[in-house]
Point group: C2
Chain length 254, copies 2
């Protein structure tokens, strides 16, 4: 791709712009409806930025990196036909892009926050394109950034996105719940960090099935009942505890 | 403590023995009903081992490191009165120890697997003892191993143990579910590792509340519905997805 324009200035745009530029890809411009956020990414990466639709430059590739709910609107801003336009969403079909240009998807599986420095070379990318030549072009581009590039249709991509919900969104929420219990017992969240780190590190070497420990795996109903009793006053936690415990039991009863 | 005997040869015994010896504490013997497992830990740490109750040596401290369901039985094996006996369980009261000796608890918050090398200095220890002098002795011992030593009664310890269930047992089960979805889509579990690692690393620097991303946090019902639809055939996953999504929503609607 000779030239790239990024549309959107959220967390994905922030990291993707940096990853592309670090790998000497020609990101020419960043567009966002809030100028300040475009300026932040533009200045950090020494590329031009704009909040005016009329100023969006001609390029070979447009990457729409915004929330799912904004992709369709952004897709109307590109006034060129002989270009490739992709979005970066795991759970939106390619058809959400409305225009006469060529369409594709460039979906990275990772949780992006601006505060975090990330390694890009192991982030899995999942690609889709209408045109086989575009798929090849996207493949070349993604391989410049990462060693984990896969081709995947919408149904598969949505499944992969859902793994992100399980392994990140839901996991992080369990950290939140555990932290809340610590706080109520006057313990800092930090006492959980060695356990959280070890839990994540274990599955580098062991499968989650082998790494599982705890009362649910052992079927230790005495301990489970003590925990359920301790949660008596919180019907929401009680319900989550029960359903996850049952789900673990089912794996090890097999 | 001048001398220590370990009873039990599971994952906690394996790691605790090593941690004690690495910190030049005098572990004299390991007892286990299956000799082979006692021998494994005994030989690795160059200490004597036995499977005979009659051969359990006199020591200052006995650490019963076995599954909760075995603590009471093990507690009958110690035929001395003027000694301190502790168990290592988060969810069993001190009173499960049956004997005329002095009683206590030495509970480490971590997930232990023999295959893993662990850092011990940041593992939180939670202590309890009937006798204030014993509490001081346990505190001295735990501080030799770790920088995170707390005194905590049974009610508090059970809450802490429960945080381990949330932050480790349940989290690991979510990895399992995510891995299962990958497998069904012919992707190796390894594509999840960068996301899993980043999720765990994020909360070193940000609170889980700030680290949260995803459709539930954004309240993006379109994406949530797509995921629910994709899970239609699995009522168990559907139910877990729904309940965790609702729980996240509740945090961010506040």
């Amino acid at each position: 791709m000779n030239s790239i324009v990024i549309l959107g200035a959220g967390n994905v745009a922030f990291h993707l712009t940096r990853a592309l530029i670090e790998n000497t890809l020609n990101v020419r411009q960043i567009f966002n409806r809030t100028l300040e956020k475009a300026r932040e990414i533009g200045e950090a990466n020494r590329i031009s930025y704009t909040d005016k639709i009329s100023e969006i430059e001609k390029a070979d590739l447009y990457i729409i990196a915004c929330a799912d709910s904004g992709i369709e609107e952004f897709s109307h801003y590109i006034p060129f036909d002989d270009v490739l336009v992709v979005h970066t969403s795991g759970s939106s079909p390619m058809s959400v892009l409305k225009g006469d240009y060529r369409k594709g998807v460039l979906y990275p599986l990772q949780t992006f926050s601006k505060e975090r420095t990330l390694r890009y070379d192991n982030i899995p990318f999942f690609l889709e394109a209408e045109d086989p030549n575009d798929l090849k072009r996207l493949n070349d581009l993604a391989n410049r950034i990462s060693n984990e590039v896969h081709q995947l249709d919408f149904a598969g991509r949505m499944q992969v996105h859902m793994t992100g919900v399980w392994a990140n969104n839901f996991v992080n929420h369990l950290y939140y719940i555990a932290g809340d219990i610590c706080e109520k017992n006057n313990l800092p969240f930090d006492v959980l960090l060695p356990l959280i780190q070890e839990t994540a590190n274990k599955v580098i070497e062991m499968s989650p099935k082998d790494a599982q420990t705890g009362p649910a795996k052992r079927g230790d109903q005495v301990i489970i009942n003590r925990h359920l009793e301790a949660l008596e006053d919180d019907s929401r936690l009680l319900q989550i505890y029960q359903i996850l415990t049952d789900s673990i039991k089912r794996v090890y009863e097999k």
